[in-house]
Each structure stands twice: as C-alpha cells, then as structure tokens.
Assembly symmetry: C2
Homo-oligomer: 289 residues x 2
C-alpha cells in the first residue's frame, strides 16, 4: 500500500493556513502538512506517492518543497513514488529523466531528494520512456507507465479500438519495454511498472495476464470509488506485484465525521487511523484465499 500526498491549500487544517499571499508561504504550508502526514503514516505503510501537480501550483517554491518532502520521506524510511506523468519525445524525455530520476548532478540537490520511482505518460512511444529506463538501470530505481487511468472520463481515449481497445495496446507496449532480462529483478518483476486502475474483475485480470512481470500501481481506491476487493486481480499470486494507492481518503481523513468524532481536533491522529485501516483492508484482501 501507498499513501498519496496531494495537498490542496484550501483543505489544510486551519492551523496550517499560510500567513501571506505568496507562493513561498503557500508552499511552506503544504510542506508542513506533508511532513505531518509523513509522520502520521510512516508506521503504517511502506511507500508514499507525491503528486507534483499539487506542488507545481506553487512554482519554484513548490518544487523545492516537493524535493524536501521526498528527502524527509526517505529519512522516515519510506519508499517514494513521484507522480509526475511526464511524457515527451526522446530528446526531451532525456531532460525530464535528468530532473526526476537520474542521480543528482548538482551539489545543492541531495541524492535523497530523488524519488525511488516516477509515473510516466508513455503515449509518445518507447523514446519517451527509454531515458527513464536507462536511469533506472543505473540507479536501481523504477517507473510506472500509464496503462489504464482511474478517471471514467479517460475512457473516451482508452476504450478506442473497440474489441481490442487502446489500453490493451499500451499494456502490450509496456510489457515489451520492460521485458529485457537486465530490467527484471530477483522476484521476476521489472523496473518498468504500469498504472492500472481496477475496473471490472475480468478486464483487470486480462491486464494482469498481459503484463506478468509488471508491478501495478493501482489508483482509484477510496475517494475515487474503488474498494479493496476490486484491487484483488491486480496482485500476482502470493500477494506480490501491486501497490494500491489511497490519497484523499487518508490525508483528508479529518474531514470525515467517523474520524473527527473520535479524535476531535487532532487531525494527525485521524490521518494515522485512516492509513492503518487502509493498510489492514488491503492486507485482508491480499491474504484471503
């Protein structure tokens, strides 16, 4: 399991509201929130996902906060997925890989601020992913390429092709991109993973079979509507091969009466309890026969 950190200024606990209308003050507020969330969930989950969109909204100050949060998550022993969904032709992708997955080339950028994996948009073909695969090979890191997104609005693109839909084509490509033995580790899993939303059990199982070496990053749990049971076909036998992410249902748990009535003003305890429950629920599904 993995907790997604998507901090929205307007939803932060009142005590964290920024004191000035500057990007620096706003970035400072989401950074404080992010650190507290990391503290609250670190005991319950092995990994976190930081969505860079929620930091880019605060420009350079947001990017600096994003990187410091990655370092802090590493200090807390967490694996970090940077949810960046970058995708461009090879000559450009090379620079995205330098910025987000390669070893730090700069004295003022600590290696701890580089994530363990990124999400990618592979719609410009192998060239858009290759620079990340090269970086992953050198650094032991990895990536998750979009195959089937969680938003039903994406179906107008991903169901294109009818009987043999576009997302199945992307699955085939992602499987091929990651199949080289040099990219596959001791558990038979590749550094090239896939973002796969759990929809009906049949189509999810088909995707699982089409990408046998691919770790699934599974969005859509919680606030986006998927339950733990829907995630089951994303796992390989033995409970390997998938990482289920929950973002809003965990980090904004203090907005839910069932938590706030129990913990009152202590929003950190609400987040912590939601992370523990989320983990327990997925574990139960994975361990069920």
């Amino acid at each position: 399991v993995c907790v997604g950190i998507d901090p929205v200024l307007e939803r932060l606990p009142a005590e964290l509201a920024p004191r000035a209308r500057t990007s620096a003050a706003a970035a400072g507020a989401v950074e404080r929130f992010g650190r507290d969330v990391l503290d609250a969930v670190a005991a319950h989950v092995p990994a976190v996902k930081l969505n860079i969109a929620f930091f880019e909204a605060f420009h350079a100050a947001g990017i600096a906060a994003f990187q410091r949060l990655i370092s802090y998550a590493h200090e807390r022993g967490l694996l970090v997925i940077a949810d960046i969904k970058r995708g461009d032709i090879g000559s450009t992708a090379q620079f995205y890989a330098r910025g987000h997955l390669e070893r730090s080339a700069f004295e003022d950028i600590p290696e701890s601020s580089v994530p363990d994996a990124v999400t990618l948009s592979g719609y410009l073909g192998a060239g858009s992913v290759k620079p990340f695969i090269e970086a992953a090979k050198r650094t032991g890191r990895g990536m998750f390429v979009l195959v089937r997104p969680s938003d039903p609005g994406a179906d107008e693109v991903h169901d294109f092709g009818g009987e043999r839909p576009f997302y199945r084509h992307m699955a085939k490509l992602v499987d091929a991109w990651g199949s080289d033995a040099a990219f596959v580790g001791e558990y038979g899993l590749s550094c090239v993973g896939a973002v796969v939303a759990p929809k009906d059990a049949e189509s999810t199982a088909e995707l699982r079979a089409a990408m046998p070496r691919t770790i699934f990053l599974v969005p859509g749990y919680g606030a986006q509507g998927a339950g733990a049971e829907a995630c089951r076909p994303c796992f390989l036998t033995g409970g390997r091969g998938a990482i289920v992410n929950a973002s809003r249902s965990v980090i904004y748990a203090y907005e839910e009466p069932r938590y706030s009535e129990k913990f009152g003003q202590d929003w950190r305890k609400c987040v912590s309890a939601a992370a523990a429950e989320f983990c327990a629920e997925i574990t139960r599904v994975v361990q069920a026969p």
Copy 2:
C-alpha cells in the same frame, strides 16, 4: 513561426559555462543563454516556445529561470508558448492549470511570467484538458493538445488502429473539446489548438480538414527533419491556422559552419541569422499560390 528554446548546458557557448556544480549556477547559465536568444530572435519572429523539461533538469532554480524568461520574452513583445505536455485526470489537471495557465494567485509571481499558451497531453480525456480551457476562457490564453508528435518512435502508439488510426481519434476529440462557440475567436479559431507534426501531405491535409477551427503547432522543422514545404498543408487558406516551430536549428545555429564561418565567434548573430532565414522560408511557402 516560433523559435523553440530548449537549452542544453553542454551545448551553450563556452563564455556561458556555469562556474559551479550547483543547480543554481546551471540554471543561471541557461537563463543568460535564453535571454540572449530572445534578444537575437525578437526582431524576426512573433512567438517563442520554452520547453520546461530543459529547465526542470535544474529543479527549483530551473523553474524560477523558466518563469523569468517568460517575463523577459513578454517584455520583448513576444508571445510565449510553455511546452509542458502536462496530462493527468481532472482533479490533478486543475492544479497543473493553476501552476501554468491561470492568473497568478501570488504576489511574488508576476502575471507576466504566465505564458500565453501551453502544450498538453490529452490522453486522459476531456477532464485533463477542461481546467485549462476554463483558465483560457478567463484569461484569453490557449493550449495545444498533442495529436500527432514528430518523433517516428511515437508511431507505435499513434498508428494503432490501422485504417482508422489513434491519432485521427485524438484529432476528433480535440476538435470537439474546442468547438464550443465560447472558445472560438473572431478569426474562427479556437483556444484549443493541436500539436500536429507534418508527415506525408495527404495525412496532414486530412488532419487539417478534421480540425477546421484548430490552430496547429507544428513541430519537427529543421533539426527534426521536416522542410518548409511539408508544413504547407498545416495552414488554412490565406496562411492562417498554423505556427511552425524550429528549436535546435535556430538556437544552436553557431554550431553550423554555414553560420559560424560568416559570423565567427559572434554566436548571437548566427542565431539571429538562422531565425531570419527560418521566418523567410516559411513565409515563402505560406505566400506561394
């Protein structure tokens, strides 16, 4: 026409080499280069495109440099396209739009640092583009959604579907997303444009017909191999409806003997001459009967 600014540290003129191994020094070097390029091309072209990947490689310092360059381009009277290729589900896209196209919400971020248009990846459907359309409506700005990229490596994705290929499907969607009368201006063109690489004349003309209200941002000219003649079918009759971009062939003109032999060490004159030639060549094609 439009000059693309994709600054690569290793290719900068020697006088601009950074003095320290920090992201701040590197970002400073590409910013100085970018300012000089803007000065060199401002007399010859109406627009520039800044590719954010080449700045993200320098982390927060790179983003700050990127934004200052946008402001500087505006000071020089240029229109600015921020080549960001962002694409995520609606709830995330909203924050990408805040970061890149909405009016500045912060006192320390000048409105002049917001570009006039962005490039987008629309593969997560209407939801991924809608927040940008809303921002464009409010601010008079615009966007270019990927329809057919220039890299032949992208064909494995875009030719999917055979007779009725995927890129044609994207063209249909982009046309629909921008068709509302509220998005169409006095010349009959929509704020929702498309990135369309010029390949064979027939398929390019088909795309032009499929998106009659759509401004084409045309990559692939120059270093990527397309000539001016190939760009002709991207234009509407009368020479409207397309923006042809050249990046490397202009900004690194000083690496080409035909310029450096003429202008010697004055790399800025090489860039200026290449921009003037590029503009003349496209103008000739557009004005030809």
